[in-house]
């Protein structure tokens, strides 16, 4: 029997954060993870995170993972990989499968950070090879460098469905459609918009009728659903695909807490403000205690780690309280906004500022031209280069404010406020705001009435990069081709962290509609 003061199960964002906080305070800490690589889902997250600086906003997930791992190492956390926790027993005993043997461990405290697994939905053909979870597609692409398929249909428009669709496009797959039985897109509008402008159609109020194929996926039929979720006859559409991705939610992997006898609250363990379960010494943090973002998981982990350290006498009460207070404030701000838990299930029609929300964004994935005038940050007809910020929903995110050294962009203290353009400041067209926006929602426009042209700069995360002088077609927000375009600049730099800023020249009339570029 080997003993540790703290055993953490799961080396994802929550687990590593808990271990770091506890080890920093002086606890002898070990983290077990069944995978060959640490980081949980973080290393699959190649997109930039939302939030503010303290939440590591505008940093890509895998970079956050690297930072966490280095911090864990510095604090003396032992991270044991390929170590599968097989059982939990009385007295906080864990059995861990490592190689060809089983080892027994006891922890004064245990933090369970086992994460979640993907939900499945059933339809004829759901067991065919080629029907996969969106997370599985992400693992194939971003961890193993394997394209999951060539032509993909995505079911689910939550953030996972939207982000993975974008990553599929980045990997060179064709995404034929994004489908959701709900009437409205579940994830952030900015995530939807960056997919929509590449030309991917959204089918809301639609569901999968059947997946076709004998031995593998050969096609999929979707249909529109009525108010009773029944498919409306005659509404069926069939797509030729080899892959169907399911992004229909996650379920906590709660076997360990259940087996330990922790009181459950439905599918999650009942926990207090510090993540403590009903079993003394056992904590839960991250998705296992309720599905949220990695940013929240990291904070929950920090709090649970601090709580374990306080229990073990490694933190003074006052130190513990100040750590918790800071983290709780940070967690609170992440949970604000129209996608926060408080708003779940509520129908929202206006922003916190009282601006009518774009219904087009919620149903088609892009802003309609009629929406633009409502949002003061979506400017047009200005002299010189100016930013256009197509950020129209209250989400907790503010890196754009700091990105502009000229102070053009203001969000204020309320992290979910929509960005406002500071009329006093002058845009230099540096493009840092474009690269800093995790939602890829900022554009720079320069109108040249005398030349009858406009220059539109937009974020670009695909390879190969266009080159100056490339000619092609400008696409509007829906991905529809609208006019000829010529690339006039491609800006890239370390600070932009692979969000390249591409500038295209289009006829003046298209200054407020041209938002993406496709080669001929």
């Amino acid at each position: 029997m080997e003993r540790y003061e703290l055993i953490v199960v799961g080396a994802g964002p929550a687990g590593l954060s808990a271990a770091i906080e506890a080890a920093k305070a002086g606890m002898k800490t070990v983290v077990f993870d069944e995978n060959a690589k640490p980081g949980g889902q973080l290393f699959k997250q190649i997109h930039k995170f939302f939030g503010s600086k303290e939440h590591k906003a505008k940093i890509r997930g895998y970079n956050i993972g690297e930072t966490l791992l280095r911090e864990a190492e510095t604090c003396g956390v032992e991270v044991v990989l390929n170590a599968t926790v097989a059982g939990v027993y009385e007295g906080r005993e864990l059995t861990v499968m490592q190689g060809d043997s089983i080892k027994h461990f006891k922890g004064d405290s245990i933090v369970v950070a086992t994460g979640a697994s993907e939900n499945m939905v059933t339809f004829p053909g759901w067991t065919l090879p080629g029907v996969i979870g969106a997370g599985a597609a992400q693992t194939m692409m971003n961890l193993h460098g394997i394209k999951p398929g060539s032509r993909v249909l995505m079911l689910g428009t939550g953030n996972v469905g939207l982000v993975v669709s974008y990553q599929l496009l980045q990997a060179g797959c064709e995404v034929v459609a994004l489908v959701d039985a709900s009437k409205k897109i579940g994830g952030y509008g900015v995530h939807a918009a960056k997919v929509a402008r590449t030309g991917v159609p959204f089918y809301l109020s639609h569901t999968i009728v059947a997946v076709h194929g004998e031995d593998c996926v050969k096609g999929v039929t979707i249909g529109e659903v009525d108010a009773a979720w029944q498919v409306i006859p005659g509404s069926e559409k069939t797509f030729d695909v080899d892959t169907v991705c399911l992004a229909v939610g996650l379920s906590p992997m709660a076997q360990l807490v259940k087996s330990a006898g922790c009181e459950m609250n439905g599918i999650v363990p009942a926990v207090d403000a510090y993540g403590a379960t009903s079993v003394p010494g056992i904590y839960a943090a991250g998705d296992v205690s309720g599905i949220e973002e990695a940013s929240s998981a990291m904070i929950e982990g920090r709090i649970a780690g601090a709580a374990a350290a306080y229990q073990a006498g490694y933190l003074e009460k006052s130190d513990f309280e100040s750590i918790v207070t800071a983290h709780e404030a940070s967690l609170g701000s992440l949970r604000e906004g129209m996608f926060g838990p408080k708003q779940r299930g509520r129908v929202q029609t206006v922003t916190e500022e009282g601006i009518v929300l774009s219904q087009s964004l919620l149903t088609k994935g892009y802003l309609d031209e009629s929406d633009l005038a409502h949002f003061p940050s979506i400017q047009h007809g200005k002299t010189g280069v100016y930013p256009v910020i197509e950020c129209t929903q209250n989400i907790p995110c503010n890196p754009c404010q700091d990105a502009c050294v000229k102070g053009c962009i203001l969000i204020g203290n309320d992290i979910t406020s929509l960005p406002v353009i500071n009329a006093e400041a002058t845009c230099t067209g540096c493009g840092m705001c474009v690269a800093s926006c995790s939602g890829q929602a900022i554009f720079l426009v320069e109108e040249k009435p005398l030349e009858s042209t406009a220059y539109v700069s937009f974020p670009y995360e695909f390879l190969p990069l266009p080159e100056k002088g490339d000619r092609g077609i400008a696409l509007d927000r829906s991905g529809a081709p609208i006019c000829d375009a010529e690339i006039t600049a491609v800006r890239t730099g370390k600070a932009m962290d692979q969000t390249h800023v591409v500038t295209m020249k289009v006829p003046l009339d298209y200054a407020s509609t041209a938002r993406f570029f496709r080669r001929r």
């Binding site: 059982g87 027993y89 009385e90 007295g91 005993e93 059995t95 027994h104 006898g261």
Partner: protein, 373 residues
């Protein structure tokens, strides 16, 4: 207030089987179960349908069940209970083991059971997968195994179809005695009146019996079992060892179900729920591999624990209660109730319909426990 001819407390295999046989006779029956159907030992045991190794006091019940009830049970209940009458091997690796087995065999033979000692060659002929270290075994060709979960649910299903009223999630609190007779049971929900009341609630029977001043001397003992993923069909016998390292069989599904103990798992600190212990499954695995090296790569998919209601003298109480007319008790099965459950269901039916049971059960009376000096 509720009313039926018979009220059964406990929805395990004994309660369900008895409900089935009573309702087949046309009696109205209500079954009250605190948790769910087959929650306790009925769903957690190793599935043995053995006669060999039984105490002489209950051996006749086992022999009756194997001869008259098990072979036709799937047909009777219209559901495959996965019964195999393919024999029981009790294995020996040492002379000391052989000596233990010889003693058991001699006692059973004296009571008319077909069980005998066999040598290594015959053991290998019956089961070629066994380790070469096995030097002999006791062999009872009429023993076997069945699926305890399906058996319990099959009795429940058929009894329910015959009109038995089952209520789960309701806890019996006390027995009501009026004019000297047990007439009803008060639950946390209602009061249930009946002409006859059967308490078949495992270890927890004592909680209820206490209300009429009865006590069955039994302990709760934790025992574990495990199951592998499905394997190719290998053998159909029930297995055990002289030293009780493990016991078990291969199921119809192909998985191997093995029970066993680390020797110290009876000492647990959690009496709220039967929990497994970290050292038990490894111990059972070593036991199995000592006899079946071929199973070393089979994956264990599940382990579980269950309580045995272990009687002071290791055989059950199956009895009407003379002092409390109307009350019948069946508990303290000591971990070997499943194999005899069809016969017990019929015996209890006889007891509650004032008939003489087909097997003499005088040795299993509730009032048999005496001080040793």
């Amino acid at each position: 207030m509720q009313q039926s001819e018979v009220l059964i407390i406990g929805g395990g295999v004994i309660g369900c089987a008895t409900a089935y046989y009573l309702s087949k006779r046309g009696l109205s029956v209500t079954v009250i179960e605190k948790k769910q159907i087959g929650e306790g030992g009925s769903s957690r045991n190793g599935g043995g349908v053995r006669q060999s190794g039984r105490d002489p006091r209950e051996l006749p019940i086992a022999m009756y069940a194997v001869e008259h009830l098990w072979p036709s049970l799937s047909d009777e209940l219209e559901m495959d209970v996965e019964y195999y009458k393919k024999g029981n091997l009790r294995l020996a690796k040492t002379d000391a083991h052989l000596k233990i087995l010889q003693g058991l065999t001699d006692r059973a033979t004296a009571l008319g059971l077909d069980v005998r000692m066999i040598g290594a060659d015959e053991v290998k002929a019956i089961n070629p997968y066994l380790s070469d270290e096995v030097i002999g075994a006791s062999w009872c060709p009429t023993d076997g195994h069945a699926n305890p979960m399906l058996t319990t649910l099959a009795y429940y299903r058929k009894a329910r179809r015959q009109g038995v009223r089952f209520i789960t999630g309701e806890s019996a609190q006390r027995i009501v005695k009026q004019k000297g007779r047990a007439v009803a049971v008060v639950t946390d929900y209602d009061t249930y009146y009946a002409e006859r009341i059967l308490v078949a609630a495992g270890f927890e029977s004592n909680d209820l019996l206490a209300s009429v001043g009865l006590f069955v001397p039994m302990n709760r003992i934790l025992l574990e079992a495990l199951v592998t993923e499905a394997q190719p069909k290998m053998f159909e016998q029930m297995l055990g060892t002289a030293e009780a390292d493990f016991y078990g069989h291969q199921s119809t599904h192909g998985s191997f179900v093995f029970g066993g103990s680390s020797g110290i798992d009876a000492y647990t600190s959690d009496f709220d729920r039967p929990v497994t212990q970290g050292m038990t499954a490894p111990s059972i695995c070593r036991g199995i591999m000592g006899y079946f090296p071929v199973l070393a790569d089979a994956k264990i998919v599940r382990t579980w624990a269950g309580w045995i209601d272990e009687c002071a003298d290791h055989v059950p109480v199956i009895s009407n209660v003379d002092e409390v007319p109307g009350l019948t008790v069946a508990c303290a099965f000591t971990g070997h109730g499943f194999g005899i459950s069809p016969a017990v269901g019929q015996i209890l039916t006889s007891l509650m319909t004032n008939e003489t049971p087909m097997v003499n059960i005088d040795a299993l009376r509730y009032d048999r426990f005496k001080a040793k000096i």
